[in-house]
């Protein structure tokens, strides 16, 4: 028996989310008196997971393991989970984890519960707290199956260090057949993505036009943050779709969310609700965002932003 976790890597390094999954998996393993087994793909060195309480790292090798395929990765994860007689599997809320989790659920005849925000309320039956209605509500969901996959919301549990010395092994898992092929990957490099960011800086219509986005970008660069935008901004083509956050866009669960010139429509607020601390800068004191924010400045973005960037640069340098 074991708790199995899918720990994602990129270019040979663990993603931050892998450490959060490991921290959660460790707490879950302690709660259920089981060992914690991490599964990696094409990652020779799994020792970094020893900082988060992992007991065993199983690295999937083989030609398919070097590039993500939901179907092939799900089949390999199912193979390891079955061998370890796992009744609990934990995955993250990354695009790839959310892609493979339902496929894995079918393979393991498991219940998949996504957007989970805490450790289980009970283990028998497994009862989990999750967000729904685009973070406007929470629900307590109890599973009817004995094998369960928990999809943990980003930043919901946090990273907790627990030293361990994981044993490491590799497995040449069977490759699932698929007619699907990746023909190209277009990925911006050197930019922090919304999914990985601790801090997100978001601009709305109050910025008046794409030519003013250097202010958002400067602020983001100063803070090491990702950039985002509201729906009207992406609809007008000022910024790419991939930056649109809100109900029909990307969800944000960062530690700090700074919204500039975003009025705070209910759909926008729903998408960013899971962020821990929200700051709003808006010229309109009646903007609904002020009701959802922790800190607010009523003021002209074009005056506040340059001052904020300058002061933050000084703060960072100090």
């Amino acid at each position: 028996m074991a708790v199995v976790i899918y720990t994602e890597t990129e270019n040979g390094s663990f993603k931050k989310v892998a450490f959060e999954i490991a921290s959660y998996g460790k707490a879950l393993a302690d709660q259920t008196g089981q060992k914690l087994v991490a599964v990696t793909f094409n990652q020779e060195d799994g020792s970094a997971l020893g900082t988060y309480g992992v007991d065993e790292v199983v690295n999937v090798t083989g030609s398919f393991a070097s590039s993500f395929s939901a179907k092939k990765y799900a089949a390999a994860l199912a193979q390891v989970a079955s061998e370890k007689e796992a009744s609990l599997v934990v995955v993250s809320s990354s695009a790839n984890s959310k892609y493979l989790a339902p496929l894995l659920a079918v393979k393991l005849s498991a219940t998949y519960t996504s957007n989970v925000v805490a450790l289980p309320e009970s283990i028998e039956p497994l009862t989990l707290k999750r967000t729904c209605y685009t973070s406007k509500a929470l629900s307590m969901v109890s599973s009817n199956q004995s094998v369960n996959i928990i999809g943990l919301s980003s930043n919901a549990f946090g990273i907790i260090e627990t030293q361990s010395s994981p044993s490491q092994s590799s497995i040449a898992a069977e490759e699932a057949s698929s007619s699907m092929q990746i023909s190209a990957v277009e990925k911006v490099t050197g930019v922090i993505t919304i999914a990985d960011a601790d801090i997100v800086v978001s601009g709305g219509r109050g910025l008046k036009g794409p030519e003013n986005w250097h202010l958002i970008e400067d602020l983001a660069a100063t803070l090491g943050a990702a950039t985002a935008c509201s729906k009207p901004v992406s609809d007008m083509g000022w910024r790419p779709h991939s930056e649109h956050v809100g109900q029909t866009g990307k969800p944000v669960a960062s530690n700090l969310y700074i919204a500039i010139g975003v009025s705070g429509a209910i759909q926008h607020l729903a998408g960013i609700n899971s962020s821990k601390v929200k700051v709003v800068i808006n010229i309109d004191p009646e903007a609904p965002f002020f009701k959802a924010a922790d800190y607010g400045i009523v003021g002209d973005a074009f005056e506040v932003l340059p001052a904020l960037i300058e002061k933050l640069k000084a703060f960072k340098a100090a």
Binding site: P102, T111, H241, G296, L308
Partner: protein
């Protein structure tokens, strides 16, 4: 080519979310129901393919008779026929089982479902259907072209996109980008009139069990008052973020 588009009947995006019956049921009082936005992007793409590929587009939902206006709207947008599986959509697994059963009978080439619904946010129905039927599966799909029995699609990934090719049968998890917001079809009078005559078949559900049960709903704790900082006092904001919120 036969296309199935799976539709969730969900509360409008501006709805106030409340619960009744000791917080076990969603309060539908005064709530307008709409086609789940991610499903509607998928439906619009399907209607384009219908014209380009001479495809037949069927829409399906799992729900009681109150979902029928939403299905009629799909027909008015351009779907050829509709299926309603007459059951309470208890959870994503149950819904996927119903869809998979219909697919086994009708063998669709392309199945499109929103990557997630805006009510339960399970993000599992298209993946479960693909897994159950062992079909190919692409989610977070932001473009889809079909030529000579091959689909070319783009999947949004963290920080970019991935272009993939796939054979059929294929399940797509739809989202914004597959078509633009401005591409969404507003039914005209002719479409609405035609929709009344299009077939809407009601099917009995199969006997699948749900894999989970919602015990209760809850609303997030109300937010405290916002702390307003004077626009000329940026130092205070930085101090609060550093010392009080501890986020920078």
């Amino acid at each position: 080519m036969k296309i199935l588009v799976c539709i969730s009947n969900v509360p409008d995006t501006t709805s106030k979310i409340n619960f009744v019956d000791s917080n076990t049921k969603f309060d539908t009082q005064g709530v307008q129901f709409i086609i789940n936005p991610n499903d509607e992007f998928g439906l619009t793409r399907a209607v384009w393919l219908q014209q380009k590929q001479q495809a037949e587009v069927t829409v399906l939902t799992v729900g009681d008779a109150s979902c029928e206006p939403t299905l009629r709207k799909c027909l008015a947008i351009g779907a050829d026929k509709a299926i309603r599986v007459d059951a309470d959509p208890t959870d994503g697994y149950f819904v996927a089982k119903q869809i998979a059963a219909v697919c086994e009978k009708e063998s669709y080439d392309l199945i499109i479902a929103g990557r997630e619904s805006i009510d339960h946010n399970g993000a599992m129905v298209p993946g479960l259907v693909a897994g159950m039927l062992d079909y190919e599966y692409i989610t977070n799909c932001i473009s889809l072209e079909i030529e000579n029995d091959q689909a070319t699609a783009a999947r949004e990934i963290d920080g970019g996109k991935e272009i993939v090719t796939s054979g059929f049968p294929l399940v797509i998890g739809a989202q914004k980008g597959l078509v633009e917001e401005s591409d969404l079809i507003i039914p005209n009078m002719r479409g609405i009139m035609q929709a009344r005559k299009k077939p809407l078949e009601v099917m009995a559900a199969n006997d699948a069990d749900a894999s989970s049960t919602v015990v209760s709903f809850d609303k997030p704790a109300p937010k405290g008052e916002v702390k307003l900082i004077d626009a000329g006092d940026i130092d205070t904001l930085i101090d609060l973020l550093h010392n009080e919120a501890k986020v920078i």
